[in-house]
């Protein structure tokens, strides 16, 4: 491991290249498409080796590779045999299928590359056979997307291929050459930066530049998946005030039209889908739990109100209606300048603004008493003489900065 005080280079270069084998099993390629949208960091920067402190990634990906056929497969064969001569990680996309079912009739579900059979005819090599052989030599096995992490839709009830995730396939005792269990980056598809950031974090750790990234008990990057998507939702405030969308397109909280956000671990509302834009609930689409091990069956039928909501949203209707109304009262005063208060009139050409009534004034008086209980209320403006406003900052008293 390179030390930061290595004077030989500005940043460590002890590992110059890491090979990454992208093995797609029962996949839709959506994770591949998603990672190409990443910008922090971008795929092309990782592949070109232009991120100081991170090694260059030599990617073997069926969609991006320049070479085809056996030329493409050759490094896979070397890695599977432990003869690549360079460190490598395997990035698995797609469910792992039960090839023993297909093999029983002489076939396969998911093939990559081919070996000759006894007649010299090519027969596809099951993708899962690459996974199991390469896992013995890989520095890390990284599952991307809900199919590779937990099984996803190909493993849903009624599936004919008996699919599962990478963790199920390799077993709980599996450890990579670096001693890591399977790393899981779920999502259907995962947010692109969630993938490149985790990969970069592992690479920086290997160079001694970063901490060992923290993973939760299911192998998820903890800093990305600790919180529910509801906690980062731009509509969560509506929930708090008991306001709910009744039909698609409404601006309020979506739980009653089928959103599972309050129990789903995901960061898409905070991070956005790409470049900080989008995010399912931010635009108005209910969460169906696509990052979760229970997806899809535990969240079906999609679009129906989750049962938990019957209790929780009604509680928030009650508390929220009180809180919401009190907030509106405060908000009305915050929409006024000191001048308008003094003059008792809002000079807007856009519409008539009601002056607060007696009760509101009383409530506001009490509110301000509380607000300024530990500090003076800003003085009213004395027109014309700016010098009178010279402020004399005193030292910290009782933990408060005071203005004389």
């Amino acid at each position: 491991m390179a030390a930061l005080n290595d004077m030989g280079a500005l940043l460590p270069t002890n590992i110059e290249e890491v090979h990454a084998f992208w093995v797609a099993g029962g996949s839709c390629d959506g994770c591949s498409i998603a990672i190409v949208g990443a910008t922090s960091p971008s795929v092309e920067d990782l592949l070109r080796g232009v991120i100081p402190g991170a090694p260059k990634i030599v990617l073997h990906h069926p969609v991006l590779s320049v070479v085809a056929g056996e030329k493409f497969i050759e490094p896979f064969r070397l890695a599977a045999a432990g003869k690549l001569g360079a460190p490598f990680v395997v990035i698995a996309e797609g469910s792992i299928m039960d090839e023993s079912l297909a093999g029983a009739t002489g076939g396969y579900w998911s093939g990559l590359g081919a070996d000759e059979d006894e007649n010299g005819d090519p027969q596809p090599i099951p993708s899962s056979s690459w996974i199991s052989r390469m896992s013995k030599h890989a520095a890390a096995m990284i599952a991307v997307g809900t199919c590779a992490t937990w099984g996803g839709i190909p493993a849903a009830a009624g599936n004919p291929t008996n699919s599962c995730g990478l963790m199920d396939f390799l077993g709980e005792d599996y450890r990579s050459a670096l001693g890591l269990p399977v790393v899981n980056i779920p999502g259907c598809a995962p947010q692109g930066d969630n993938m490149t950031e985790t990969i970069a974090a592992v690479l920086l750790f290997l160079h001694g530049l970063g901490p060992l990234p923290e993973f939760d008990e299911l192998g998820r990057p903890a800093w990305l998946f600790d919180e529910t998507v509801h906690r980062g939702c731009t509509r969560a405030g509506f929930y708090e005030e008991g306001e709910f969308a009744e039909e698609y397109g409404d601006k309020e909280c979506l739980v009653e039209v089928g959103c599972w956000g309050p129990v789903v671990q995901c960061n898409i509302n905070k991070r956005g889908a790409i470049g900080g834009r989008g995010g399912c609930m931010n635009v108005g689409a209910p969460c169906i739990g696509c990052t979760m091990p229970g997806f899809p069956d535990s969240f079906a039928p999609f679009y129906a109100t989750p049962p938990g909501t019957i209790v929780s949203s009604n509680i928030s209707r009650v508390t929220g209606s009180i809180v919401g109304n009190l907030r509106k009262m405060t908000q009305n005063y915050q929409n006024r300048t000191a001048k308008w208060n003094k003059e008792g009139k809002v000079p807007s050409g856009w519409g008539h603004v009601e002056e607060p009534g007696f009760l509101q004034k009383v409530a506001h008086f009490a509110y301000e008493k509380l607000q300024f209980r530990n500090s003076p209320k800003p003085k009213e403006s004395t027109h014309g003489n700016i010098l009178e406003h010279k402020m004399d900052w005193k030292k910290k008293e009782n933990g408060q900065l005071k203005i004389k």
Partner: protein
């Protein structure tokens, strides 16, 4: 009278009926492929120049595709081809028995390249089956979303997947004689793209290094940013629902879309000029390239982009609303339009599994469509998906893909089919931005930083690999202008107070309800066929563009589109020894279709009451 091979005739009122007096109206011949394989084995044993060339996997395509060919490296000819989809997941089986509302989200996952079109096609199938008409703004927002999907899809293919085959690095390795010529070839589009010679362009096509390669990556992100303003995320949008769309449409939504869409005005001009220069160079320097990937322009397309004042989701009116689309549905046979009606497009479809890893099925539940047009037992509504994995054999079964045909003809699909049919049929709505002349599509691109321009895509004489890619480049301005047109409509609807985006509906607990969704994927033709019975999905069948293109042989021996295109491809690559042969011409031919395999395979459901489940195979249309 659009059908030549199926036993469907029409009376004087235009009503279809099954031809009478035919003993077994849907009978077909099954050819033994073993005879051909024996001959090939014999030839290979005798002649060292005749060899088997296999690509497993074919890279730079989406999903799992393998390709087998036998080539004569002396005569520079391809003798035999087999296209193999190498993945089966069983989506159609998984969908069976579920609440129909789950279909859009689950079937979206059939393909990670074009998830939005699967979600939308599924929504259309449900809307037809259950009679749900979305409000105008819901329709318009879907149109914008799905036009933008193409704006990240096409550049990705042109520059990241197909593009490297025309880059300086690859051309220098396979056809070094072209490099000097390219250095001397003046680029005609310099005023737009800034490159002086074709070689300059080719250098910037180099993978991971070239500026055009990297620019395409960043432009796909621009499009995705616009996409997620409506879809929430990509590639599987979260907001497409039966009955419309689940998006709170505000000024910000439209602004975030528009600020990115306008970047594609300039980019459209640049991309079309780039590829015109590169492809004209190849075709002018060696006219034999006209034969690369050539096949008749026999293609099918579902059409895409519904007019909000026309689409009512009904089967009864589907010919009308189909013909009102911004992209005209229909079928081309050898370059001629034989129908633009969705009902005829639907009725002509069949699927065969003689060379696929599926068992044939029994039964002929739906003998006609809801209005009486005869349907074959091999029609998707009648199909059952019964997977049967087996050994790969060129004599017998070799693909997870089925063989779909229309009127018993293997059909090609692509973004280009969409443009070809629309240009030729001249049925699309009148538009300031798009004019169809019968032999070309004229696209008016507004100014952004470049001045406004008139682009014209002309229907080519030879339907080959170069023209497929060129047409795909012109599909970028085509899609951008449809997005523009719909963006203006969205503004208008909001001005008029038409802000509803979805129609509520209930799932009927009784009865049988059938529907089909027809909507273009990035690479063309896509249908979902749905049967809802007693409130749950009884059968679900998907036919994707690559199901059509990657098809194995038809039972009667006709090759699938990839197979046919490669069979016609001359070997123009330069090599000294047979071992050095790389097969660039074959790969160019295959990649010109923009293969996307994830959703190509089907799956079958076993012993279900008429459920067909189809699976989608891997589609790899992606990148990365």
């Amino acid at each position: 009278m659009c059908f030549k091979n199926l036993p469907i005739a029409f009376d004087e009122d235009g009503n279809a009926y099954l031809k009478e007096g035919v003993n077994d109206p849907y009978e077909y011949k099954v050819v033994d492929l073993g005879i051909e394989q024996d001959k090939l084995k014999d030839l290979m044993a005798k002649n060292g120049f005749i060899r088997s060339v296999d690509y497993d996997p074919v890279t730079r395509v989406a999903g799992a595709l393998a390709f087998h060919s036998v080539v004569d490296l002396e005569k520079k000819k391809v003798l035999s081809t087999n296209s193999m989809a190498t993945l089966f997941r069983g989506y159609e089986i998984i969908l069976k028995g579920r609440d129909p509302r789950d279909a859009a989200y689950i079937s979206s996952r059939a393909c990670g390249v074009c998830g939005g079109v699967h979600a939308t096609t599924s929504a259309l199938a449900i809307e037809m089956a259950l009679g749900i008409k979305p409000p105008p703004l819901g329709i318009v927002m879907r149109n914008i979303l799905l036009a933008i999907e193409y704006l990240y899809d096409h550049p990705l293919h042109l520059f990241l997947l197909a593009g490297p085959d025309y880059s300086e690095e690859l051309v220098a390795a396979t056809n070094p004689e072209l490099i000097d010529k390219a250095g001397n070839a003046k680029a005609r589009g310099k005023a737009v793209h800034g490159y002086s010679t074709v070689l300059d362009i080719m250098k910037d096509l180099n993978p991971l290094k070239g500026k055009l390669y990297l620019e395409a990556l960043s432009m796909t992100r621009v499009a995705r940013e616009a996409y997620v303003a409506i879809g929430g995320k990509y590639p599987h949008p979260q907001s497409v629902i039966p009955g419309g769309i689940s998006v709170t449409v505000t000024i910000s939504t439209l602004n975030e879309v528009y600020s990115r869409l306008i970047k594609f005005f300039d980019y459209s001009q640049k991309v079309t000029a780039i590829w015109d220069d590169v492809f004209d160079f190849f075709l002018e320097n060696n006219p034999d390239y006209n034969q690369c990937g050539v096949r008749p322009a026999t293609m099918a397309d579902t059409g895409v982009w519904d007019r909000p004042d026309s689409y009512d989701a009904t089967f009864e009116n589907c010919d009308k609303w189909g013909n009102d689309r911004w992209s005209t549905p229909g079928v081309l046979v050898d370059g001629e339009v034989v129908t633009t009606n969705l009902r005829e497009l639907n009725a002509g479809m069949e699927e065969f599994v003689e060379h696929s890893y599926y068992e044939d099925w029994d039964g002929h539940r739906f003998k006609t469509d809801p209005l009486g047009m005869p349907l074959s037992p091999n029609h998707p509504w009648n199909k059952d998906t019964i997977p049967k994995p087996g050994k790969q054999s060129w004599r017998d079964r070799y693909s997870w893909d089925t063989c779909p045909t229309w009127d018993r003809l293997p059909m090609e699909a692509g973004a280009y089919s969409r443009m070809y049919l629309t240009a030729k049929a001249q049925r699309a709505p009148k538009s300031k931005f798009l004019q169809n002349t019968g032999h070309s599509m004229i696209i008016q691109v507004p100014k952004h930083t470049l001045p406004a321009a008139t682009l014209e895509w002309k229907i080519p004489q030879h339907w080959n690999a170069f023209e497929r890619n060129r047409a795909r480049a012109y599909c970028i301005p085509y899609s951008a202008m449809v997005a523009m047109e719909n963006w203006l409509l969205a503004q208008q609807l909001i001005r008029e107070g038409e802000t509803k985006v979805s129609t509520p509906y209930e799932i009927p607990k009784t009865g049988t309800h059938i529907g089909f969704g027809a909507w273009g994927a990035g690479r063309g033709f896509l249908t979902h066929h749905l049967i809802v019975e007693k409130g749950v999905i009884n059968n679900y069948q998907i036919i994707t563009p690559s199901t059509l293109n990657a098809a194995p042989r038809a039972p009667w021996g006709a090759p699938g589109p990839y197979e046919e295109a490669v069979l016609n491809t001359p070997i123009l690559e330069k090599f000294d020894k047979p071992e050095d042969y790389q097969g660039i011409d074959i790969l160019r031919a295959i990649r010109s279709f923009d293969p996307c395999m994830p959703c190509t395979t089907h799956i079958m459901a076993k012993d279900t009451d008429h459920v067909v489940t189809r699976e989608v195979t891997t589609c790899a249309c992606g990148i990365e």
